[in-house]
Symmetry: C2
Subunit: 400 residues, 2 copies
């Protein structure tokens, strides 16, 4: 067999690293940790409204939601974030009911500026309340039609840089503005990103860990074509959804050798999904890698009390155990069970605490991992050509 | 090659049908459509509390949640259902805040009666309010420790038959009781199940459709090891979760020939996931079958208004379109795009209306499909031995 020039060989870690170093000057998301966000903070400090409604779909909302979902239960935010993304009318009207329309700031987000779902929702909201420069702000590319609309209406605008794709935009104004409005410390988010960035580019811990993980995933991609994240905290449900978009949309591509790639993301929540998906991991076909995410400190001392329940005495060993300890024991027991199977590849990510720093670190790390895997398999990680045909068909249907 | 007696050959549809006919007298869920549920209805009619809290995990809550989630936005239920399943303390306390504890009926559900999560939560709730026969009812196997507790406290009990597994129990008291309490027409649910049942066992429409689908899935299981459901309604998010448990836990098994099976469920919601997972379906490796679920009539006339937005005139073709029509066009456009790819196997399930009958029909159908696929691949569809080792490890950790 004669190898053609294009024949697929897995490059060395060194050469992949070099191409990431090269890419970091071309792809916008690498620069976001170093941005100046004074304008965002100063706008946020003037917001009086109690409700913040994000009108945006996919990359325009998933990242913000991931961070909000992670923090909302433990941080007493004074304002409430709402997300409008679907075109399902039942869902739309249900969500509008939860707003006080006179006390809502609308943040309309669309990179292209002409996303059908976002514009439809935005138009509909005009029938519910007066929308003007006092209660609406626009986030879009600087020369989009939506930004044009904003200028025509003297609305405040924030820019999504052209070289920052939707699913890599959470640390641009897309995520930072709504999060700053409800009081999230956005400097802390960027600080965490910079830590990951410098550890990776200085070839410290993040470099070795991410390279090792990426290499395993790609060397075994045909055997383990499914990548499961098993998050042991309900607060990570939003993160799981964000991960699914990041991984699926970035890596679901045809590569330079015209080969379809094989990485399917799945997001699970523990311990609930021990009662659902775990059986499949344990006894199903060996086609999955599993990444456990565990929270080390919950700072919550809620305990299972010593309540004698007649008949249920055999469970008295639970008495006086804290729920934090119980869930930690649950993740450890599941990891041990998987470990003892010997043929399910897994790793464990530990999160120190439920705070802005932890979630930003986790997310920036996953963006880097996605970029590295993309380089290894020689795809364009940052486009999404596969969804264009559906969009064109829809447009034609609607115009006729 | 000499074929051993056990060598795996795919049996004929006829012989699979015969074994299902045989199984329906042994496995309890087939009998549920024909049960008498007067006791459930009569109990439900006496419930005064406004909040109904289901304490149960996995099969004890996912089915009920699926039906509630499907109906809650369009049906004005006078009572509210709440679900307590995780041991994550932050989540538990967050959910408790949403109850009026003096106006809550607790329904504690555990088939075995000794589920760690359920008993822990139940104990904890005792520190929040007085729990007694006036505000608590127990659903469990008739001779479980939990039922024993109920008897000792003169609490009302409902039975989960021993031959009905958790993930097949939604049409037993597990699902019917909480749903009846909030006013769902449970006779309508059972009526829909009976329709599917008789169509299948009389070899009408459901027989041919389910057999064809099951056969395709198993004949191509190594090629298409992932089964995606793409539901075009936010109201089907609960159904997706229920499907994931049903499919994953039932079919993730080692079969009679000691071969690990290969069926991984994924649940998507449209149009949102067009902006997330669709790219992977469109351009990723051909390892997925896709089932679209579309709602034919939404009985909702919410329209995109004729609001002139300066700059965005190119989207004026959306004006006066109803959101119901838009989402229908979106699913049709996505189906057409997938169809034109020619190598992604898909099918379409249509739901007439958002009502109790439709969701029960869909769910009973999926239970049958799961049973049929299980027969084809020669596994025990109804057990879950793979999660036992983790449970034992946990118990040992906690006792020491």
């Amino acid at each position: 067999m004669k190898y053609s020039k294009n024949f697929y060989t897995i490059k060395s870690n060194e050469s992949i690293f070099d191409s990431i170093v090269d890419e970091k000057n071309k792809i916008g998301y690498y620069k976001l940790p170093f941005q100046n966000c004074e304008d965002i903070k100063s706008f946020a400090s003037t917001v009086k409204q109690k409700h913040i409604a994000v009108i945006g779909i996919g990359g325009s909302s998933l990242g913000t939601y991931a961070i909000y979902d992670f923090l909302k239960r433990t941080h007493n935010f004074e304002k409430k974030l709402h997300f409008f993304e679907t075109t399902d009318p039942i869902d739309i009207n249900d969500r509008i009911k939860k707003l006080d329309l006179d006390d809502t700031l609308f943040i309309v987000i669309s990179k292209s500026g002409t996303t059908i779902e976002t514009v439809s929702l935005f138009k509909y909201l005009h029938t519910k309340t007066t929308i003007n420069a006092l209660n609406c702000v626009i986030i879009s590319e600087s020369d989009s039609k939506l930004t044009q609309y904003a200028h025509a209406n003297q609305m405040e605008t924030f820019e999504i840089p052209k070289d920052v794709g939707g699913r890599f935009s959470v640390f641009s104004s897309v995520g930072l503005l709504p999060l700053a409005c409800i009081g999230v410390n956005i400097e802390e988010l960027l600080h965490a990103c910079r830590d990951v960035y410098s550890s990776f580019f200085n070839k410290k811990e993040e470099y070795s860990e991410l390279m090792e993980k990426a290499r395993f995933i790609i060397e075994n991609k045909h055997r383990f074509n499914i990548n499961v994240i098993f998050s042991y905290s309900s607060a990570l449900e939003g993160f799981n959804k964000w991960y699914i978009q990041l991984w699926g949309e970035s890596l679901g591509k045809i590569n330079v050798n015209h080969t379809r790639q094989a990485f399917t993301p799945i997001g699970l929540i523990g311990p609930v999904d021990q009662h659902s998906f775990l059986q499949l991991i344990a006894e199903g076909k060996r086609d999955k890698t599993v990444t456990f995410i565990k929270v080390l400190s919950r700072e919550d001392s809620t305990e299972i009390p010593e309540v004698p329940l007649i008949g249920l005495e055999e469970l008295n060993y639970l008495d006086k155990l804290s729920f934090s300890e119980l869930i930690t024991q649950q993740v450890d027991a599941t990891i041990q069970a998987i470990d003892e199977m010997n043929d399910v590849p897994y790793d464990v990510i530990s999160i120190q605490k439920i705070n802005a720093f932890s979630i930003a670190k986790l997310m920036f790390r996953y963006q880097l991992l996605t970029s590295i895997v993309g380089k290894f398999v020689r795809i364009n990680t940052y486009d999404q050509p596969g969804v264009e045909s559906g969009k064109i068909i829809l447009k034609n249907k609607l115009k006729n």
